[in-house]
Amino acid sequence: MQAALGTLNALPVWLLILIKSAVLLLVVVTSFAYAMLAERKILGWMQLRPGPNRVGPWGLMQPAADAAKLILKEDLTPKTADPLIYKLAPFISLLTAFSVYAVIPWGASPSGTWAIGNVNAGILFLLAITSIGVYGISLGGWASGSKYPLLGSVRSTAQMISYELAMSLSFVGVLILSGTTSLAGIVSAQATWWFFIPQCVGFLVYVVTAVAETNRAPFDLVEAETELVAGFHTEYSGLRFGLFFIAEYVNMLTVSCIATLLFLGGWNAPFGLTMIPGVLWFVAKVGAFMFFYMWLRATLPRLRYDRLMAFGWKVLLPVATLNLIVTAVVVALRG
């Protein structure tokens, strides 16, 4: 072990970072696979059925079987599609989903923050990458050259940009309290009070917008089967469909990480339980938020599109703005 660490330290810095990045990506992809399995198990449990249980013990090898199936399936391109953009769209979705993990910190030790890049504008970097993620969906729907995908992509693009606005406003309250845009700085500002207590309104707005941003139930209008078949990815098959699928789950993981970092205290331990390492707390909080996501899907029916849009613009936007004004007033008066 000691010798192995010695060789690691002898490597050039850039190679070390490359290895770290590859390991992190591997972790992200593996968590995607098991998040998907967990969702199917949890949905099964909530609906009184076993869920996947044939491949391996308790169905634990199910993700591997699914991956093999998706890779071997035929990759169809409709003749009306634009071949280049059709292939580019899932790539953009996946790349943006992966990219955010460049700045997400997952723990800290006295010597520094555990992250690939601990950048000062961390939260703005996250917002920037998220705003590019929309292109995967809108380009994918357009490039299919088919009616349902185009309708689905237009709908979900309008939904995502509307909710992105309220989401970015819900961050502002946190920024006022912490006085920094660095994710590690925001976590250390929560050493005493986790921000979901003083920022309870902001947290609520964030949770709603986060679900809408990732196109998940009850905001999964993209996949309103009765109206749109499968939305923007109707024409996609095989692994190219899989890329959108991976991107969706990785994005779920990302918004759970953001909720943990901004509102749930990051790797800070609750009740002074500091003997358990911070990384484990971080993972536990992300896991709890993911569970909440799946619970929502099992519980809530889908919204109607006009209600969804009106809710985003008429309720969430003013509420988020009021929240940031109130926060600013408190900070201005009390310091």
């Binding site: 953009i85 000062n120 917002l127 920037a128 929309v134 292109y135 380009l139 237009v154 992105e164």
Partner: protein, 201 residues
């Protein structure tokens, strides 16, 4: 320095593609790559806030609007020009001339050492990108915007308000039934009668 040349090449290549692409949606993709690479260039100039805002506002909002208009209007429409693309014949020499001029200019400026100022425009110290309080960071930008440049900031609010009104003018009045229940009832009655007559098929 190597990074600068790679990113610079991407910026130029994507810009040329944006201009010469046959399908408008390809131009949008080219512009998207261009904006992203431009943000990387801003970062190398330690303008951290500018880089993220470039992505959030330009790539995330303005370009989405372009894509909406282009994708929705041009779906199912044939690409613009058929036949050989004549544009490169004009573009290539023009780009070559401008490039030579720029290289000469940059070489001249470098000679005068203007590119390495010792004090930043905002008076904050220069340092590694994004460290707190350093030129170009979010905090530094906020300090400058909300003290020295307050008037332009408030004028921005006015301009944005005018833009909002302009949007409503462009899209037309969307008021459903002008909020009057009498009118709503009339429209509903007309619709019912039309259905009963069966002439609405």
């Amino acid at each position: 320095m190597i990074a600068f040349w790679i990113v610079g090449a991407i910026v130029v290549a994507s810009a040329v593609w944006t201009v010469t692409a046959r399908k408008p949606v390809y131009s949008v993709v080219g512009l998207l790559i261009n904006f992203a690479a431009l943000a990387a260039l801003y970062l190398s100039l330690s303008a951290e806030f500018l880089a993220v805002i470039q992505i959030i506002v330009y790539s995330g909002a303005i370009l989405i609007l372009f894509l909406f208009v282009i994708a929705l209007l041009s779906s199912g429409v044939a690409p613009f020009a058929q036949g050989p693309n004549r544009l490169p014949r004009i573009v290539v020499p023009a780009v070559a001339i401008v490039a030579v001029a720029l290289v000469g200019l940059v070489a001249g400026i470098n000679g005068a050492a203007i590119l390495t100022p010792s004090v930043s425009p905002s008076g904050s110290p220069l340092g590694p990108v994004g460290s707190a309080g350093v030129f170009g960071s979010v905090a530094d930008f906020g300090k400058a915007l909300f003290t020295t440049h307050l008037l332009p900031f408030e004028v921005t609010a006015l301009i944005l308000m005018v833009a909002v009104i302009g949007v409503v003018m462009l899209a037309g009045d969307q008021t459903p039934y002008v909020g009057s229940s009498k009118q709503a009832a009339r429209v509903e009655r007309q619709a019912r009668e039309a259905i009963l007559r069966g002439g609405d098929r």
